[in-house]
Symmetry: C2
């Protein structure tokens, strides 16, 4: 059973805490201004948890399906599955009042029970929020009621099995509730890896990855999660739905691509069939510095267009590089700057490459980097990044304690528009916040374009902590959405937060098609009300 207290912050019990060194805090204060700490996570008792609105008959039927131990209505259990992990979600746990608490938590044991739980919810017109790791940063698991009398969280944590492995075809079938580290562990026994390592790795589930079109840090080598998914099994109010019988097909539109990314609105993903790969024999992480954002992103473009991206390829802009240097210490010394300047680098942009085997490609990639004027920093920055690769969300808790407004947002566009989109989003954030620190990196590159991932830090406005970020997010989203070549989200998904911008991206016809597909699989609209604007 999940410890609901974990939900008041990202940090799992098992993970090391990420307290910030005094030096870093001092540096940050200089950069973004005086901080007003306070508002620690509130205890459960600070929240008003209303009685569950699930009708008694529905509760009895749910108990009949999953057993009495797996229908939970205690305040702690419900608070433990309330909302996701966005900055605003975390704020709501520090400023009690705005939480949408589900009425009941239901924990089915297998795909068949998921189907039967849906049938009960349809019969009683109860909303259903599918719940995996609960790591959504876009309101994807917010327990909106919509027009329903009550809403249950359908927690998939008991669907935690590796169903089968086909080493010849390099395929594995997992139940949807398997968490990423467990998937890795289960596959490693067979000598395989999934290669999917998003920053939410420590908590997130395979079903969640599929539902949200996740992209991991190693997407340059292993692809996006949607590229790995070869099959899905869903429970829907219209019955079970299985897709994916072959590696490729022309049997009409690719409906698997419709189920993937549906964010729980079309069905509950209960199983995923994923492509797996042998565990790498050797991993090598290393750092380079290039001169200026344009040259740095251009080098990544050339790597991408020559098929020479490292499995992990991530390049930071000047501000993010400065922070890397400042927080890590050591490297930021005047000596290093002088060393780089002597090599023509006055606007350092840090490039991290992580190679899983693939030595021949590395050799050719290094030639391209040298031609672009890159200076190698050796393995240290690569290993440092690797060590801290999942620390971001945990550091956020520490920053929140300090009184920092901290959030990330992301987009993607084609190469020729990347510079303009970068400037537009940065400008919007700088205009919307007071003395913010806006950092950016490209961590997902393709032949035709790349993602932009922004991290924003500012001194939290203690008088309007929610409005402060809402306005900044809106400004950034409008900058993306008005740029007709940028997507509102490259891998965070739509949830509630991006729903207002979806129509601009997929058009009136696209919205009508989504609504129609929803009506076909979920005629009464019980599934994840409000998400994707549905």
């Amino acid at each position: 059973m999940v410890d609901h207290r974990l939900r008041s912050a990202w940090t799992p019990d098992s993970a090391e805490t990420a307290a910030l060194p005094t030096k870093a805090v001092r540096w940050l204060t200089r950069r973004i201004g005086r901080l007003s700490p306070g508002a620690p996570p509130a205890p459960d008792s600070a929240f008003v948890v209303p009685p569950s609105r699930i009708p008694e008959k529905a509760r009895a039927e749910l108990v009949e399906v999953v057993g009495t131990d797996h229908v939970l209505e205690e305040a702690g259990e419900r608070l433990g599955r309330t909302g996701g992990m966005s900055y605003l979600d975390l704020l709501r746990r520090r400023y009690p009042g705005g939480l949408l608490i589900p009425d009941t938590v239901v924990l089915p044991a297998d795909p068949e029970q998921v189907q039967r739980v849906l049938d009960v919810c349809v019969a009683h017109d109860i909303g259903v929020v599918p719940f995996g790791g609960g790591t959504s940063v876009v309101g994807g698991v917010t327990a909106l009621r919509g027009d329903k009398q009550a809403v249950v969280v359908l927690d998939l944590e008991r669907l935690n099995r590796l169903v089968s492995v086909d080493p010849t075809s390099r395929l594995a079938v997992f139940q949807a509730g398997v968490r990423a580290p467990d998937a890795q562990r289960l596959l490693a026994v067979h000598g395989f890896t999934l290669g999917h390592v998003p920053q939410s790795y420590e908590r997130a589930t395979l079903g969640g990855f599929a539902a949200t079109r996740s992209a991991g840090q190693a997407s340059s080598g292993y692809g996006r999660f949607e590229d790995m998914v070869q099959g899905v099994r869903l429970a829907t109010p219209s019955g079970e739905w299985r897709l994916g019988v072959a590696p490729a097909s022309a049997a009409g539109p690719n409906l698997r691509a419709l189920a993937v990314g549906s964010e729980g609105t079309l069905g509950v993903i209960t199983e995923v069939t994923v492509r797996i790969r042998p565990l790498p024999e050797r991993e090598r992480y290393e750092g380079f510095v290039l001169d200026g954002w344009e040259r740095a992103t251009d080098a990544v473009r050339v790597l991408a267009q020559n098929g020479l991206l490292a499995d992990i390829t991530r390049v930071s802009d000047e501000d993010e590089t400065e922070v890397s240097f400042a927080l890590k210490g050591g490297l930021a010394t005047t000596a290093v700057r002088r060393y780089l300047a002597a090599r023509g680098i006055t606007r350092p942009c840090l490039l991290i490459l992580g190679w899983h085997d693939r030595a021949p490609q590395r050799k050719r990639a290094l030639r391209i980097l040298r031609a672009a004027g890159a200076v190698s920093l050796g393995r240290a920055p690569g290993e440092a990044w690797r060590h801290g690769r999942f620390a971001g969300p945990r550091q956020r808790d520490a920053l929140l304690d300090l009184g920092v407004c901290v959030e990330t947002l992301e987009t993607a566009t084609h190469w020729s528009g990347l510079g303009e989109l970068y400037e537009k989003v940065r400008s919007a954030l700088h205009a919307a916040l007071d003395r913010p620190l806006v950092m950016c990196h490209v961590s997902h590159a393709y032949e035709t374009g790349a993602s932009l991932y922004f991290t924003v830090l500012a001194a939290r406005d203690p008088h309007d902590p929610f409005g402060q970020w809402e306005r900044a997010k809106q400004a950034a989203s409008e900058a993306i959405s008005e740029n007709t070549r940028g997507t509102i989200t490259h891998h965070h998904a739509v949830g509630l937060d991006h729903a207002p911008y979806l129509r601009a991206e997929i058009g009136d016809v696209g919205m009508a098609v989504l609504a129609a597909a929803k009506h076909a699989t979920d005629p009464t609209g019980v599934l994840n009300p409000g998400k994707l604007g549905l």
Copy 2:
């Protein structure tokens, strides 16, 4: 304007004819039995072309949109866009009677006119069959009326422009009616290639490739057409629909993947944005022989799973290899067989590799092939294949003249099921036909599986030429469909011929979702009636 007479056979005027050498015919007769030639393509005058059923008012409105020269009702023009290029389509031109002839041909000039033509057809409840190269081999352009009073063919040949090229992002925007050779020519001016070379290359259009999820001979290097498509523009009865603002996105389900493969049932694709690549500097085609189908396909699997597929990778089974040798002559000599036998190869399976640059990968691939016992035949078989790569459909015309029943069909599955699916389909075809020659190759390989492409030759039954093939096709389709891991089509699409098998593959829920999407974009069902079972 298209010369409708071309439609009585595949062979374009410009192409060399593909008469079969006497030696080959003699060999074939020995293999499949006595042939009863006859039934040459009938002249247009042999067909009863009923008067157009388009109401006068609708005709006038269509003329207003596209001009009087672009609304064609002459018998020849209508016959010229009647049906596609399947064996049964070709038979219908030799045994007049079964053609579904469209009422009118409309040729809009641009995407705006396509939209307005749709609006007229919706207003008058007239069916619309989008028409590119007309190369469908699954009944995808058959002019079914459905419940409509009349049906027009919407020929996209005037949408023949390269709209823009973005060399930095490696993107090109094409109008949908651009034929593949023209696309290549237009891109070559900019130093780029599309790399999409299906066997229908000489005729087919980019819009058609997108509508049918085409896969070209170089799919191992350049990907399937759906992988190349970064954006689409469609005209639909519900309004224009544009998709694709970024190289990747998590903005809900990938609706681009719903538009691609919709076979004209959800909208008329008017523009496609495709990823392009620099023209290769060097091309190298070569042949190898491996011992037996299992070892041969396994070698391709190992290449695929190590990222070492040649851009063109194609391996033939023993029967197809025998035919290659027999028809090409020379190689089939006893001396060659003795040469191969001395190297342990008694069941030769021909492997063709075509490399576009990528010398380092070739070197590593050759090591794998040597380990698998492959014997190199040098460049001659590779060049021979390359020379004849588009000849298949033309040879079919010559075979039809000789009285041969000749058709192809294809499927795909995961590696671990490939051998079983191969045997099942082969057995079904051998059981359904008298003394057939059933050949097979793998020409599209993936990490997790591969396609199987069957070519079937048999002596045509002059008394029941249609039923003979219909029964064989049904037997093969059932063998695929009952194997729960095979797709009914890897790249030929669904059209009419595969529609009965679609439900088994995508489920009741999938069919309901397709119908719902259709209702959203095309509420009155004017678009390509009957295709995809819609």
